[in-house]
Amino acid sequence: MTFSPCSHEKEVAELLARGQWPQACTPELRAHARACRSCGELVTVTLAFQSARAQAASAAKLAAPGALWWRAQLRRRNAAVERVGRPILGAQIFALCVCIFAAAALLVSQARHGLHWLAQLPQPLSLHLDALWPSALSSSGTGLLVLIPVLATLALLGGVVVYLASAKQ
């Protein structure tokens, strides 16, 4: 296939674009378009597409522009909220990871040392907390009674960190 544009093509194209073909063209140009393959194709194709465009455009059933505009505003707002929420989610995940890591480290540490440090704490003679505990907890559940408040404190601190991060955002 050879690529051979005609010198009259630009002139023909301009008349077609302005919707002035064939009314405004000279008889010579019209005769040329009949004889020239390139210009003839240009006229045939352009007229077919222009006609198809006009018919398709008249058949269009369009949505209300106001509804589209509001949908777009809603989408923009949601995107903005998502953008802002992304660092907060990161902070929450980070705080949760810190809590889990601290709890795991504490558990391992307590399991290794068997809570011997508790015995070294000075206790007032008059205050015997173990007397208040149920007998089942006083032996094997001692660790749990220490761990639960520690974990609760960590979770509380994590929550505060997240709250401060959110407030900053």
């Binding site: 222009q50 198809a52 455009a57 369009l62 949908r71 505003q73 989408r75």
Partner: protein, 166 residues
């Protein structure tokens, strides 16, 4: 873009955008969806106001990308073969002569050729504008368009051997 300004832009551009999507995809229902999505993305994009002509080009670019994404989805068989059947089936009796003439010819072209031909001969875009809309290299548009035009002219001649009055 404010609501009133958008309403004006929409009134001036929506019909031609819908016509582009409907004729290139061959599916009016798909054209409805993609036209709406094009406007939503157009409004959601934070672009400087470069005037209506540039805005319109940008809108057609969004629509072209949406069409391409649609054809590339796995539920469709292939970008090269989908819309042919749709185009042939989509020609209703209400769609008049030009559809009867152009529709079958357009159906035998590749989607990219349909896009190029529509943008050039229905919308009147220059090669540089078509390159901007389609994302193709500006240098290759001329040759691609020349081949596509030659092909559809041959198909139109085959359908209508007597030819139209030039």
């Amino acid at each position: 873009m404010e609501n009133d300004a958008f309403a004006g832009f929409y009134e001036r551009s929506a019909r031609s955008l819908w016509a582009y999507l409907a004729r290139v995809s061959g599916d009016p229902a798909l054209a409805d969806d993609l036209a709406q999505e094009s406007y939503l993305r157009y409004l959601a994009a934070a672009r400087p106001d470069e005037g209506e002509v540039a805005g319109r080009r940008y809108l057609f670019r969004i629509a072209t990308n949406l069409l391409r994404d649609h054809w590339r989805r796995p539920r469709q068989a292939s970008i090269e073969e989908i819309p042919e059947a749709l185009l042939a089936a989509g020609a209703s009796s209400a769609q008049a002569d030009s559809q009867a003439v152009l529709g079958p010819a357009l159906a035998q072209l590749r989607p990219r050729d349909r896009q190029l031909l529509w943008l050039a001969y229905a919308e009147g875009y220059s090669h540089r504008e078509i390159a901007e809309v389609t994302g193709l290299a500006a240098a290759s548009i001329r040759l691609l368009l020349f081949r596509a035009r030659r092909k559809i002219a041959r198909l139109l001649r085959e359908q209508n051997p007597n030819g139209g009055e030039l």
